[in-house]
Amino acid sequence: MTVASPIDQAQCSTGSPRPCPPPLRWWTPAVAFAVSAVVLSVLVIAFGTNNGPLDDPNQAFQRDGALHNGPQLPDRIGGIALGGSSVVVLFERRQPPGQTLAQWRAGATRSGSRLVVAVAGKPGTSALRDALGMRTPNDGGPPVGYAIVDRSRRVRYATLDPAYLDHASEVELLTAGLTGHAS
């Protein structure tokens, strides 16, 4: 019985005067690449994004985690006063349950921000949505997410986030980051 081994250890030890064969057949990297490419493509295309109906069609704009210098807003939009303190505007399609919202509010406003809940279809919501530059989700409906306006009324963050209830700490981090940035 014989096996095909690419290396003869007896003849190819370190310092051998004779050329030794490589430890891999020449076609091995190509086969490994082909298998890896298929697996990676399936992983990235099928599972590599969160692309639900409420998510942003361009994931780059969803929860990018960086404060921006957006447009400066007037001191009142849709009946909501801006300025003086930072404001977190939460966009929802229906009023969140009181207890759930209270828990989120506690985390999101820990740095002293005010919370405004803008429910789709209510007066002023469309004006806020347009002024804050909220993007349209995959399903084409109203946004679910939030925006952050600093105390000088500048838009610093606006993102769709259908799982915002799980991310109160992110809002807290970003509003805390406004300290020293707001003019």
Partner: protein, 162 residues
């Protein structure tokens, strides 16, 4: 791509199956943990983008090494990929520790800017596959050359136990 006769083993250090196998196991285990962590944060897009960016960059390094040194390298290619991926996600680790993202973090393999490539993760997939495929093609040419240089008596199947 020539090698002195005493350097054959050194030339093959990056290709040893056992070394590649344990690197692969370690890479898959750690990537599985990272994917799970990003998934729990509804942020798979970020895992995909940073991993593919790291794969593309690693492929460039391996290709440059092969071209300049005339042999495969560095010694631990899959650990190199893992190291570049971890380097690329340093800003996310900082974020989890309470530091918001900022433009200067592009020093981490373009951590901020890379998300805005048109086509997103699929575009990065294409780039990573083209670059890694180019490296594999160059490595295949190098291996074929080495097999062609191998004396015939070293290419024959060996008896079990030798």
């Amino acid at each position: 791509m020539t090698a002195d006769q005493g350097g054959w083993n050194r030339d093959y250090r990056a290709l040893r199956p056992r070394t590649l196998a344990w690197q692969l196991v370690l890479l898959l285990a750690i990537e599985a943990v990272l994917f799970q962590r990003y998934d729990a944060e509804q942020a798979r897009f970020h895992w995909s983008t940073h991993f593919l960016d790291a794969l593309a960059f690693t492929s460039l390094v391996l290709l440059a090494w092969l071209s300049i040194a005339g042999r495969p390298g560095p010694r631990y290619p899959l650990l190199t990929l893992l190291a570049f991926h971890v380097y690329a996600i340093v800003p996310d680790l900082m974020f989890s520790e309470g530091s918001a993202h900022s433009q200067w973090q592009n020093v981490f393999l373009g951590h901020i800017a890379e998300h805005y490539l048109p086509g997103g993760a699929v575009a990065w997939l294409a780039i990573a596959l083209v670059l890694s495929g180019t490296h594999v093609a160059a490595l295949t040419v190098w291996l074929r050359g080495r097999w062609a240089d191998t004396p015939n008596d070293l290419r024959v199947p060996l008896p079990v136990g030798t």
